[in-house]
């Protein structure tokens, strides 16, 4: 395990997917509708952390970051053949002053429904996005 202190100027915002959602996206990319955004008053280096653990029962599952309606192709993670699809993505980018909408999209053929219970300690399924303004 490692702990890394972030710069003094860091600002962190975190978002969870908290509503049930069908995972079958019919071979299309579907948004998690995180309702996340970033309002930068100056140019900044921003680090996005995406962590997910979703029961898919061996189905295919892919996820990617969408920033201001643009796909961040470096953020793609994809897995198939496991009971849980899980991954950690790191996406770093220097962003200019302005407002940015942020979302995570997924593409899956799982017939499961993602039903996170954020209050339950035993719940294993989750989708989390951290948006870290480093400087």
């Amino acid at each position: 395990m490692t702990a890394i202190e972030l710069p003094k100027s860091s600002i962190v915002n975190s978002y969870d997917v908290d509503k049930p959602m069908s995972l079958n996206s019919d071979n299309e990319w579907k948004p998690f509708n995180l309702n996340a955004s970033l309002n930068l008053m100056e140019t900044k280096t921003v680090l996005f952390l995406i962590t997910y653990n979703i029961r898919v029962d061996n189905s295919q599952f892919s996820a990617r970051l969408v920033l201001e309606n643009k796909i961040k192709k470096k953020s793609v993670t994809s897995v198939e053949g496991l009971k849980f699809a899980s991954s950690q993505a790191y996406v770093a980018k220097v962003l200019k002053k302005g407002h940015y909408s942020i979302d995570i999209q997924f593409n899956s053929n799982s017939s499961n429904t993602f039903s996170p219970d954020l209050r339950s300690d035993s719940e294993k399924s989750h989708v989390k996005l951290h948006v870290i303004e480093l400087e």
């Binding site: 395990m1 490692t2 702990a3 890394i4 202190e5 972030l6 710069p7 003094k8 860091s10 962190v12 975190s14 969870d16 990319w29 140019t43 900044k44 280096t45 680090l47 952390l49 962590t51 653990n53 029961r55 295919q60 892919s62 969408v66 309606n69 643009k70 796909i71 961040k72 192709k73 470096k74 953020s75 793609v76 993670t77 994809s78 897995v79 198939e80 053949g81 496991l82 009971k83 849980f84 699809a85 899980s86 991954s87 950690q88 993505a89 790191y90 770093a92 980018k93 220097v94 999209q105 300690d121 035993s122 719940e123 294993k124 989750h126 989390k128 951290h130 870290i132 480093l134 400087e135």
Partner: protein, 288 residues
């Protein structure tokens, strides 16, 4: 357009309007033509990230450099480095793939991750450390070891290979690395992993600070089961770090989150849950 024409073609026109607006709302490919080799910086924070378009995994040797997965960059002041790799790949048949970071010509044990036997997998690994500048550029390389041939073609959809590092002003970096065998029993509740605790002493000038905290586990499970890991900070479960694996021989669990720590000592504990198997204790040999 006459009223009669609209009435007769109402459905078709509605679909054309929906399609037109749908196309506008559909995310576009990265329009800024972001380079596959991304080097960006603000004053004290630098990004060095590279995406490889095509990779082939062979089975010839033990660990070898992923073709093209090497980069060098200059560090001219003391920094904290966060280095990482992300691979979403396809093997020809079910097999094992292991990846690790070589930083500044040193293998980084805690960055090693493996998964298998599986055909289409996703592996992420990362590490952090404080780095003092030297005269030479620093290097980051990603090495792999595969039991089955395979590869990937970063297509923005299913496959991807990205690696690199971010440097920012030096702060505290705390580590706990374990290379001993660990024993796990069947458990449907969360248990602490023995001898796997990280103490973070936030004692800098700031009353509170944000920390990235992460864990890496990779070992052979050896039995069919569902193995979950997560971290706990003091008395708070960090549920967003839960990763579940199993039904395969080799598992690799990695997760990272951000926490705010106040001045003083904090304890990060690794926890596990193990469903399946039988009621005996399993001795898992840590591979890396």
């Amino acid at each position: 357009m006459s009223k009669k024409f609209i009435e007769n073609n109402e459905g078709k026109l509605a679909k054309e309007i929906d399609d037109a607006f749908g196309a506008q709302n559909k995310p576009k490919e990265d329009e800024n033509k972001e380079s596959d080799n991304l080097k960006e910086r603000t004053k004290n924070t630098h990004i060095h990230v590279k995406m490889l378009k095509t990779i082939n995994f062979g089975t010839d040797k033990d660990f070898q450099i992923v073709d093209g997965a090497s980069m060098k960059f200059k560090v001219d002041r003391p920094v904290t480095l966060l280095a990482f790799y992300m691979a979403s790949y396809k093997l020809k048949t079910d097999g094992k793939l292991n990846l690790k970071i070589n930083f500044d010509n040193r293998d980084i044990p805690e960055s090693r991750q493996g998964l298998g036997d599986i055909k289409n997998g996703a592996i992420t690994g990362a590490f952090g450390e404080n780095y003092q500048p030297k005269s030479d550029d620093v290097s980051i390389k990603i090495l792999y070891d595969a039991t089955v041939e395979g590869g990937l073609n970063s297509d923005g959809k299913e496959m991807n290979f990205v690696f690199g590092g971010i440097t920012f002003p030096s702060g505290g970096v705390y580590k706990h690395v374990n290379s001993n065998n660990l024993t796990f029993g069947k458990s449907d509740t969360w248990n602490n992993i023995e001898n796997f605790t990280l103490t973070v002493n936030h004692n800098g000038e700031r009353e509170e600070a944000y920390y990235l905290i992460m864990y890496n586990f990779s070992f052979d499970l050896g039995v069919k089961g569902e193995f979950s890991t997560r971290m706990k900070l003091d008395n708070r479960s960090l549920k967003e770090t839960t990763i579940t694996n199993g039904q395969i021989d080799r598992i690799g669990n990695h997760a990272c989150t951000v926490v705010k720590l106040t001045k003083g000592s904090h304890t990060v504990t690794a926890q596990y849950q193990f469903l399946g198997g039988s009621n005996i204790l399993y001795l898992f040999k840590i591979l890396f």
